[in-house]
Structures are given as structure tokens and as C-alpha cells.
Amino acid sequence: MVGAEVEQARARLQLSYAKRGLATALVSGILWGLDGVLLGLAVARTPFISGRHLFTGPLVGSALHDGLAGVYLLAYNLATGRWRELGRSLATRPGQLVCLAALFGGPLAMSGYLLGISFAGAAYAMGISALYPVVGALMAQLVLKERITARAWLGIIACVAGAILIGYVRPEGSHPHFYLGIGLALLSAVGWGIEGVISTFGMDMVDPAVAINLRESASCAIFLVALLPLVGGWAVLARVPANAPVVGILAAAALVGAASYLLWYLAFSMCGVARTMSLNITYALWGLLLSWAIGEVRLSANLALGALVVTVGAALVVANPRELVRLRGRQ
């Protein structure tokens, strides 16, 4: 009798942990949608629109976003008694791997994304960048031996297809470096995919809250030292503090971004790379709804269809949380 009660309690705990992981990934996507809307409002203003290149402003915005998010996450780790874990983690190979993941997911993927849009146009580059959950799932299956059922694969592909539909804009203008742009957009999808797999491997041994703090700090440092000097970013950066409303929007975006990133990394270690990424990409749907709510976009047929496809995809991904009791190993 007691054995049966224990077994029931054990099954309940396992299932509730899996469900919490899925909810964490979904909320991370919702917050990422809000973060994107806020960051978009900030980089559409002076001084971000006065950069040397089209992508100078967004790169400076990304650097500041990651740096501020790192500060918020440090505050979280101080408050929860984890601050000593930062140095400890950096002294181990898994912690160093998390910093390597930051290089792939932060500067490399973000630069590939922005340059891809610049060289090949948003229509194609954004669609290709949105493939990152497929890349991440493939790599997680290969490297981490993550179990992904046929239904979950269908859900992942539907989430990506829906996000592409939502983000689609009619191709316009000529692009002399079109294929370079496509290659760079592909690099961003690979960068985010690699980030998910490497950081999840590292988080097998490092606390996710600490890992994401390291990730954001490392990403900001690489942006500041290696990328911004190449695009005249420091001149734009120096003018940001003088614009109080922009600082306010950026600070709010980074706070939402820090929460989204924290939940994203937590979800990686709770429900795996493939499901986390496919639920994260639902940000396209949430971003659309938020933009619609503040009057930035008008709903159209392809947006409605995209929203429907993302919703069906997410439902397929979360359909059976029992699959998540064991994330890795043979099916």
C-alpha cells in the first residue's frame, strides 16, 4: 500500500517537473516577444539610427541589452545566494563551455542575423534565421542524444513554419550580396542551435541562473571589445546615456530580457533543447499580438495563418509531458 503511494507521488513529481519545464519555456517565449517589441522601440530612436552602418544601431542595442541583463542577473544571483557560483563555474570546463556558447549565441548569431538581413533582405534572412529550433533539435539529438518523438518533430517544424509566416515581408530591392546574406542568416541559425546544445551540456554541471549570468556578461564583453569597434559602435554607445527615454526603454527591455533568458536556460535543463527552442520561437506570435495591441501592426491573412500554425505546433510539442521524464538516451 505504502509502495503504491510512493510510486504515485513519484510519478506526480516527475510529471509536474516536466510540465513546469514546458511552462517555463513558454513564458520565456512570451517575455522574449515583449523584449523584442521594447528593444525595437529603443533602437528605432536616436542615437541608434545615426550609426555608420544599417546594423550599427542594432548591434549597440544588443550589446547594451546583454550587458544590462547581465547586471540584473547578477542582482538575482546575489539575492538568491548564488554569487560565489560565478567564479566557481568559470574555474571549471563546463562553466567555460557556457562562455563559449555565449560567443555562438550572442555576437556570432546576432551579427549573422543583422548582416543577413542587410545583404539578403529581411524576407529571406529572417525566415532562415528562424530555423534555429530545427538546427538545435538536430544537434541535441546528435550530441546530447535527446529523445524527440515524431509528433514533437512535427510540432517543432510547425512552430518554425508559423514563425516564418508571421515574420514574412515581401521581398523588395536588389541584393548584390544575396548569397552571402543567406549564408550569414544560416550562420545565425547554427549559432543559436550550437548555443543551446553547448550551454545545456554545461548546465548539467552548472546552475542555469549562473550560466545565463555568465552568458550575458561574456556576450556583452565580446560585443564591446570585438564587434562594436568594427562598425563605429562606440560613438553611438557614448551618445546613449544622454537620451533618458531611450535609456528607460532599454533598461525595461533588458529586465524583461533577463527574465526571459533566465527562464530559457532553466527550461533547457528541465525539458531539453528541442522543446525549449520550439516553445521559445512562439515569441513571434506573442510579439505580433503585443505589436498589434499597441497599434504597430495590422492583422492580415498570413499573420493569422502564422499564428494558427505556431499554436498548433506548440500544442504538438507540449502534448505529452510524460515523454520528458527521461530526456536523453535510447527511445
Binding site: T80, E85, T92, P94, G95, M203, D204, L324, L327
Partner: protein, 93 residues
Amino acid sequence: MTIRLPLRFRLLELLCELPSATVPELMARLQREYGGERQLRASVLLGHLLSLRAAGLLEDRGGSLDSDGSLLLVFAATEAGRARLKYLPRRRS
């Protein structure tokens, strides 16, 4: 200057040293190393253990119900978990 392992990694190492353990047993063993830190709480340890279990680095070998009726799972390292010890730093306290 001594550097401790990250708590999650230390938990895995500890469970590779012991045949198996519950959260209260692990809490007691870690008290000397991480005792002054707010992160050393049963809920935090259980979160780490469930994550390691989902990743296949630990397994739970059943459990029991304590006097409050709360589940007390018994965790043990798997072969995959033991294999991760190769990432331990060479020199540490």
C-alpha cells in the same frame, strides 16, 4: 586560496562517491562546504537533482514518505553521470 565546485557539479560528484542519498542526507553532507550560502536549500537541491535525473546523469531508486507525507526520493549516479567526473578541475579543495 581554495575553490569549491559549483553546487550542481558537487552534488553529482557526491552521488558518485555514495551508493545513494536523499535530499536531507545530501544537505547534511554539504553543510560544511556550502553551509553559509542561501542557495543551500532543500528546494534548490531537489531542482538540481531532478534536472540531473531528467538528463540521465542520476536515477531515482524509489523512495519513501516522511512523517508529513512528503516524498523522499533516493538518488544515485548513473554511468553517464560518473563519466562527467572527467570535467572535474585538476586542483581544488
